[in-house]
Symmetry: C2
Subunit: 483 residues, 2 copies
């Protein structure tokens, strides 16, 4: 049992986050630099994210496989940009089995190279294409600044890797998987996202085009929550992935890769949490309903009997219910389970038993309602869906409030940020026009610390001029501070 | 499409195994010493093993968590036998992020140390006990001789780690999990196993008692297919896992650990495979029914229409069915799918369509039957269960035939092995009496290469005298050559 007081989000969002995820027992720090332990409630969120995505991957024709974690150092040399992007962050195995290795082995930061090597052996003919594989695995990036779930030395993820006979099909795959991430984020995580294209400077090392889903956290910062890459023939050429096409000509394949990671757990917390603690959407919550028996000792037996009955009914209906029968005050328990983000609380006292009713309290709104015990499971199943939808709507409203569409020049952006800082509020996201030049992109970054998040496919407004240089803008770009 | 000819099992079992798993596309060799790639059909077997075990773990109150893969070298020093057992096999990370590490980090061979460290932080009171966690993870053991699935540098496994307030409860847990492994192996893998205790020389490094399930492969050798360890207070003392008990006294917890790995995939192949290839039990097979349309081109349309209908019916009934509509002869396809171990083949030709029937061919018996298409899904679901049970019975009969219960002296054992070698058959397993001394155990090993597998809880015969020294035997022990 833990002390429930958290730093307020407005006081120090980072402190709130670190306290919230530890007190909710999602994670703990590990005795290895930048590594965390995923505790059961944190890991179960990942298991539910896995299940939801894995089903979607399989429905779209992908199968899972598993490739070695250790990657020979020479493999990184085969794609020039890739090695430059990842080399600084790699941990290396240099000794094993009591001997120094002849070639050192990297702990995978991502598996394009290893999978590229295997694909070059497996793919011979157009009949072997498309090859649609996915891997669930641990990966390593030895980054300087770490933050639990968002950026850790070791993390868990999935990485899809596909090979195709032609560019059109590979590009379709890239977008299809991005759309799956967006649909999953919105329907299961209740987290609205913008799908769009990354600017060249923010591309994956080795990609031709990178697409992302970007979500707004409660501090107004952006989180890149998933990416999908069109790799063109870069890795195919690096690893010699060739096939004999129908026209009897040997050609290089086109490849894609796409991934989401355990940073989605951090996203869930930062999108839905409040000063009471984390708040979990019902579709992913390990516990959807927490039952709390109430009342004086003399009524205990009667209340507990009814609790057991209600528990059984909810369980039988497939609702993830837990009953808190510990020795502690109801008030303490209310705080505890709000802090842990359980979507719905069910209170049952002696008077409720007499009146064949219970009290339900929603985590998302705080709304308290007295409800008949008749058909309770059906009622609660509907209510959980309502909560799921309301959490999405709340996040959508928050995002709209903190999205600024009417800033047209860099000066206006600088002013906007200064005003927000003075008021102690967040500056949110800004949709700017962009001429497409690196110079303008870098200038915004230097002067405001805002970076380009993505170029949304369906921008909420049109911008005729570049926010920086005022020249004709060919596209809109989301600008924000980012994790 | 591949050449289907395999080396016969009797000619060279090892060659047969290596060819069978590659041609069935369960695995491929990777460009890293002792590592393999789990291809989709191999990985899907693991996914089904995971699903079956994970459900059983959760039903018995365990939850999953995830701990860092990298373990500081100092952690291994805290349990003396543990470090001696694992140190020679460890790969080490010595550099990361462009710098040499101050303390080198091992790639986990197992996680007692890391989890012991975390448990010492989480466990304070008897209220925190029992703590019942499991982890699905990759682990590393840099062994000299490697064999795909059975012994690889990197492999996948689950490791359960539990902490208890008292010894009785911890010992019960150790046995409960062993029983779960045995029940899973027999009912889902159709693989009979002997549950029993390992001799002291075969114990896990750091355990007080180790229990195992042992299975007989088709070459008569034994495979340790799962282990469960009672660790006593060894790791609790090494890592300071203490709790305040109800009586207000600080005590060390008792811990257990238990695991099975991707070697179970190898076991499946070696228990059920034959000269035609691998053979998969229906409950785990990625594809349960392979449909093969037959007949001349002119009847193709009619046959394909019926195939589509039957496919839909089977799919809707939850049967994992695939239809092979490639351009190849039926005979070639029959061999291909027998080699890949699909439990049931469904042939459909023009005459079958006219007669509202199909031909079913069982992989386990070769039996061919003509069956009405009416209620086909129900019929096939039953038939798959029949095949599952028959595969278990076949394996049980094979084990019985190759288990030798009537050898009473080392001389008889030596003779038995010599006779088997002369006849070119396998010597199988031998149940011997054992006085319990290390000397007798070592003597058998030196003279016969047979090692003690386990001391079965329910031996199929009583042995009054030690097979080696002739002294009074307190127990029976399985002796065999082992993987």
């Amino acid at each position: 049992m833990s002390d429930n007081k958290l730093t307020a989000q407005d006081t120090d969002f980072s402190a709130w986050y670190i306290e919230a995820i530890q007190k909710a027992e999602l994670m703990d720090y590990a005795p290895v630099r930048g590594c965390i332990v995923f505790r059961p409630d944190g890991y179960e969120l990942w298991e539910r994210i896995q299940a939801g995505l894995d089903r979607r991957f399989k429905e779209t024709g992908h199968r899972n496989a598993y490739f070695p974690m250790l990657i020979p150092s020479s493999f990184f040399e085969k794609e020039k940009e890739h090695v430059e992007g990842f080399n600084p962050e790699l941990p290396w195995v240099t000794e094993a089995g009591g001997e120094k290795l002849e070639e050192k082995l990297a702990l995978r930061p991502t598996s394009e190279t290893m999978i590229g090597y295997m694909y070059s052996r497996w793919i011979q003919s157009y009949r072997d294409l498309p090859l649609l594989l996915n891997q669930w695995a641990n990966v390593f990036r030895w980054e300087k600044r770490t933050l639990p779930f968002l950026r850790t030395s070791e993390f868990l993820w999935q990485e899809g890797h596909t090979a195709h006979a032609d560019e059109v099909e590979a590009r379709e795959e890239t977008r299809r998987m991005l759309d799956i991430y967006a649909e999953f984020a919105e329907s299961e995580m209740a987290m609205p996202v913008w799908t769009g294209q990354k600017t060249p400077s923010e591309r994956f090392a080795g990609a031709v085009d990178t697409y992302s889903i970007e979500a707004m956290m409660k501090d107004g910062k952006a989180l890149q929550a998933g990416t999908s890459h069109f790799l063109g023939q870069n890795f195919a050429k690096g690893f010699g992935i060739e096939f004999l096409d129908r026209d009897n000509v040997r050609k290089f394949v086109y490849t894609t890769s796409w991934g989401v990671s355990t940073r989605l757990i951090g996203a869930l917390v930062m999108v839905h949490g409040d000063d009471k603690g984390i708040a979990l959407p019902p579709r992913l919550a390990p516990t959807q309903v927490i039952m709390i028996p109430i009342g004086p000792p003399k009524s205990r037996e009667k209340v507990m009997a009814k609790c057991t009955q209600v528990y059984g009914e909810l369980k039988a209906a497939g609702i993830r219910v837990q009953s808190d029968e510990r020795e502690a005050t109801p008030g303490w328990k209310f705080n505890e389970w709000e802090m842990r983000g359980v979507p719905l609380r069910l209170e049952l006292g002696p008077r409720d038993v007499e009146n064949n009713q219970c009290v339900l309290v929603r985590r998302d709104t705080g709304e308290k309602m007295t409800t008949s015990l008749d058909n309770l499971a059906v009622y609660i199943a509907h209510l959980l869906e309502t909560i799921q939808i309301n959490m999405f709507q709340k996040a959508l409203a928050f995002r709209a409030e903190n999205s600024h569409l009417h800033l047209d020049t860099l000066e206006e952006l600088v002013m906007h940020i200064a005003r927000a800082e003075a008021a102690g509020t967040n500056a949110g996201w800004v949709l700017g026009g962009w001429c497409g030049s690196d110079e303008c992109e870098m200038k915004v970054r230097e002067e405001t610390k805002f970076t380009t998040r993505n170029i949304p496919f369906a921008p909420p407004a049109r911008k005729e001029k570049c926010l920086v240089c005022g020249e004709k803008s060919s596209q809109e770009v989301w600008l924000a501070r980012a994790y």
